[in-house]
């Protein structure tokens, strides 16, 4: 994000996010604009997979023609192919967008290595160039229903991963307090509280802290803010943006909200349901202003509406999209 010039402010005229997209994103990688461009706003198609073999550094995540069909015959995702490159010094923020049943969570859980989605029925799921064998601490996961262990205080919840590694108590508590601070909780006030004493937003902060403390290379977030009220949601979006800038991790973020996907993402993947297919990958403007401000700007909304239109247009005929 640092190599990109600061976009103009909330100017309501043509110099908003839409034109910023044209000026900066479209030509950043010297690729022709995609033929699928929406009517009003040009949103560039992200680079597609070419020959994967000659890529020098291993990719952070790579899907090669991945399908998942369950024992009962239901196909969750079909022929998904994409990759995420290892950007030195920073990770990409990828948002996954689409209606229920389009396989967004399946993709997240395949990366995490969680059953029954893992293993894939066909195709390859590679993380750091190696096939995923099962879950591990290098791929942290945050769920929608803010999972915090009921029997553990905030401190012990956050320190759980380090406890499993056998780190001595004093040391892991010290680290945990730092992260608790980072996610915006008050260490003095909250560290000895139990999850049932916390609000939903606070519990989600605990869950995020428990993941961050392990410094994973990949963070998987499955609609983490879906159950929060709008005001809390904006605050959590701002939190995620600021944390992610420090973290240099690749984030996969599933959401139902186009606004959230466009705001948070560097790249948005759009999926269609039944069976889940990857319709489109779009580069979207980065979040460089507070969530509440930026998501009200006309230029931002222009992009959101363009994507909503695009999703609507693409959905009825999945075969016309990319498989």
């Amino acid at each position: 994000m640092t190599d990109i010039q600061t976009p103009p402010g909330a100017a309501p005229e043509k110099s908003g996010v839409g034109s910023w997209l044209r000026r900066n994103v479209l030509h950043r990688r010297q690729e022709a604009p995609s033929p699928i461009s929406a009517d009003t706003v040009t949103v560039k198609e992200a680079p597609q997979d070419k020959s994967a073999s000659d890529a020098a550094p291993p990719r952070v995540v790579e899907f090669r023609n991945v399908s998942k069909t369950y024992d009962d015959g239901y196909t969750a995702i079909q022929d998904i192919t994409f990759h995420v490159d290892d950007l030195p010094g920073k990770g990409e923020f990828i948002t996954l967008l689409g209606p229920s049943g389009c396989g967004k969570s399946t993709i997240l859980r395949l990366i995490a290595g969680l059953s029954p989605q893992h293993p894939a029925t066909s195709g390859q799921v590679l993380v750091g160039g190696l096939p995923v064998e099962g879950p591990g601490a290098d791929r942290g996961m945050v769920f929608q229903d803010y999972i915090a262990f009921d029997n553990r205080s905030v401190l012990d919840n956050v320190a759980f991963g380090l406890e499993c590694q056998g780190m001595p108590r004093a040391e892991r508590y010290e680290r945990a307090r730092e992260v608790i601070q980072q996610v915006g909780l008050d260490v003095a006030r909250d560290q000895y509280k139990y999850p049932h004493q916390l609000s939903g937003g606070m519990r989600q902060r605990v869950a995020i802290a428990g993941t961050l403390i392990l410094k994973p290379k990949i963070i998987l977030m499955d609609e983490p803010f879906g159950a929060l009220d709008p005001a809390t949601r904006y605050r959590m979006q701002d939190l995620i943006v600021s944390l992610w800038r420090e973290l240099e991790a690749t984030v996969f973020f599933v959401t139902h909200s186009v606004e959230e996907a466009v705001y948070l993402g560097d790249r948005t993947m759009i999926f269609s349901p039944g069976p889940g297919r990857l319709l489109q990958q779009l580069e979207v403007p980065p979040p460089d202003r507070p969530a509440k401000t930026m998501q009200r700007e006309p230029a931002f909304l222009e992009v959101v509406f363009a994507i909503k239109d695009m999703v609507e247009k693409l959905e009825p005929s999945p075969s016309s999209g990319r498989g």
Binding site: A137, D145, F149, H196
Partner: protein
């Protein structure tokens, strides 16, 4: 306050603790009053014959003499009976706990173990309680060991089943969260599954302990010189109705106090998940 204007007759409304207790007290008092009225007057003119129902005053006096000692031969022995019954329940229950709960946790964690234990558990759970008396007498004699084993066999299969269910009911997402934070299988069992299942296991223990206090009376009808069941038997043999009723009141009170005590402990042991009543 909105609550104060809400009728206590509102659908599914819970009365305040004080009102609730008051209603409970009035309800018990009404029952005792009816009891008093139907046993009022000279023995011949009562609505219910003294051969069926003693007066509340008689029962109260007998209870008092059982507690403090008095003229009759059983005076002052109530606490000895209670202690004897509780000792048997606790020894059998402890055995059931140390066998049933680990087996249940093991079965909850492992599918093959679960499949192997299922038929045995089904069989043991379906042995009629009454059949356990002759069964345990054949194997364990008629002394204390038999009474312990009776409680053990009656309780252990249920304790195992409830521990199994408690483990299975911990939502998958807790396991998955632990996995994505690098926990090993053993760490998931010891740091996630067991602690999260414990409150449910404890609740089930609370219920089963209450039932076991009731079950022990059955075993005490045979060859016991102390115990609440023995007290009931003696009362029946002597046609001593006040003693039988006093024993029943003592049993109900004991069950209530034990349950309250266990509920109190629940709040202490699991502060993060308060007891549900």
């Amino acid at each position: 306050m909105i609550r104060s204007t809400r009728s206590i007759f509102a659908l599914r409304a819970a009365p305040s603790p004080i009102i609730g207790r008051l209603i409970g007290f009035v309800s018990v008092a009404a029952l005792v009053l009816v009891w008093y009225l139907v046993t009022l007057g000279a023995p011949e003119s009562r609505i219910v014959s003294p051969a069926i129902l003693p007066t509340p005053v008689e029962v109260g006096q007998r209870l008092l003499s059982l507690i403090t000692g008095g003229a009759d031969s059983e005076g002052g022995t109530l606490f000895l009976h209670i202690a004897a019954s509780l000792r048997r329940v606790i020894s059998g229950f402890a055995l059931a706990f140390f066998v049933g709960v680990p087996l249940g946790i093991l079965a909850g964690c492992s599918g093959p173990v679960r499949a192997a234990l299922a038929p045995h558990a089904l069989f043991l759970r379906n042995i009629p309680l009454a059949a356990l008396i002759p069964l345990t007498m054949v194997t364990f004699g008629i002394d204390e060991q038999q009474k312990t084993m009776f409680i053990f066999i009656a309780v252990a299969p249920f304790l195992m089943g409830d521990a199994l269910v408690a483990i299975l009911r911990v939502p998958d997402k807790y396991i998955e969260t632990a996995q994505t934070r690098g926990a090993s299988t053993w760490q998931i069992i010891s740091k996630v599954l067991i602690p999260l299942a414990m409150p449910a296991i404890y609740s089930s223990m609370r219920t089963l302990f209450g039932l076991a206090v009731g079950y022990i009376m059955l075993a005490e009808l045979v060859n016991a010189d102390l115990g609440l069941g023995h007290m009931l038997l003696v009362g029946q043999r002597r046609s001593d109705l006040p003693t039988i009723f006093a024993a029943l009141v003592a049993i109900a009170t004991l069950a209530y106090l034990v349950d309250r005590g266990l509920a109190f402990l629940q709040g202490k042991i699991f502060p993060y998940r308060p007891a549900e009543d």
